[in-house]
Amino acid sequence: MADFELKGNQDNALLETLQSVFSTYKDLHFPDRGKTRSVLIPATGRKLRFIFWLQSSNAPVVYIVPGLGLHRLAQPSVAMAELVYKNGFPAVCVSSTFNSEFMEHASTATLPVYLPVDGHDMHVALTEIDGRLNTLYPNRLGRRALMGYSMGGLHFLFIAVTPPTHLAPLITFDRTVAINTPVRLLHGVSKLDEFYRAALDWLSSERIDNIQNTFMKVAALSKGALTLQTSLPFNTIESTFLIGFTFRLMLRDIISAASDGSIRES
């Protein structure tokens, strides 16, 4: 049984980050109303899936990519789509370039992280998706906007400054919105590595127990009705470690996906 007694100080910025994990869509049926289609990515010869919600009449379309490693159906991704849709815009969600779905079907590099390659791959995918949607639903999509969270924002900002080229006729966008995007990726990941080592701040004699208790608290909270209004019962070390651990698991999945035999040989 988890010990919920708080020992030590809390860090609001870290707690807000942890709470963002629990941000989700409000209408439980919203994901079911989305349609899933796929597009052939010429460079990989594979089909990339995407999900979209159209309005009944023509309106500016918003393409959404979530944060590092997240799938297009992850709760934060669908929550952004719901927000966009309920404000009158069609929403289209694509998985992060660091998610196995994108890596396996649309990446030209086995290992994601190099922005010129990953950003270009995303741009190609969005071009294919936009073309497919316009073929399926003529005159339903208006001007185009990008909305990216964290790493998704970084890719979209790269796309926004990419000059048009005649080599690959990539679409252009009328608006780019980047939310909480890192400025220097390497600085960001060095912080995540530092966070993962936060457990070393505990006394060695107490470390295993503290780690276990932190995970037990997460498990208990996951079963309960945790809302955005709920104050999370984690001190600074626990919050820091949980964020570092979450991103370390994402890195594990990235490396695992890259090592998987299903990855296209370049």
Binding site: V113, Y114, V161, N180, L251, S256
Partner: protein
């Protein structure tokens, strides 16, 4: 080797290890030797695209000042 043991081994890899040892080596084996650690650091730094970003009036940024991934120099 079981998936669990592979996962345990992978978990020892930090994000910086991934970039320095995996990604740089990968691009080198692909013949893209221009993707060095320094080149990658520049390419993944938004300040590299500063002029283009500032010149684009259609970009909107939403940033939290207490974002732990940003340093004070990033918020300038």
């Amino acid at each position: 080797m079981s998936r669990t043991s592979v996962y345990k081994e992978i978990l020892q890899t930090s994000h910086q290890d991934y970039i320095k040892h995996f990604v740089i080596s990968y691009y080198a084996t692909m013949g893209l030797t221009a993707v060095t650690a320094d080149a990658l650091e520049r390419a993944d730094d938004l300040r590299t695209y500063d002029a283009g970003l500032r010149a684009n009036p259609n970009i909107r940024l939403i940033v939290n000042q207490n974002d732990f991934l940003l340093s004070s120099e990033d918020l300038v």
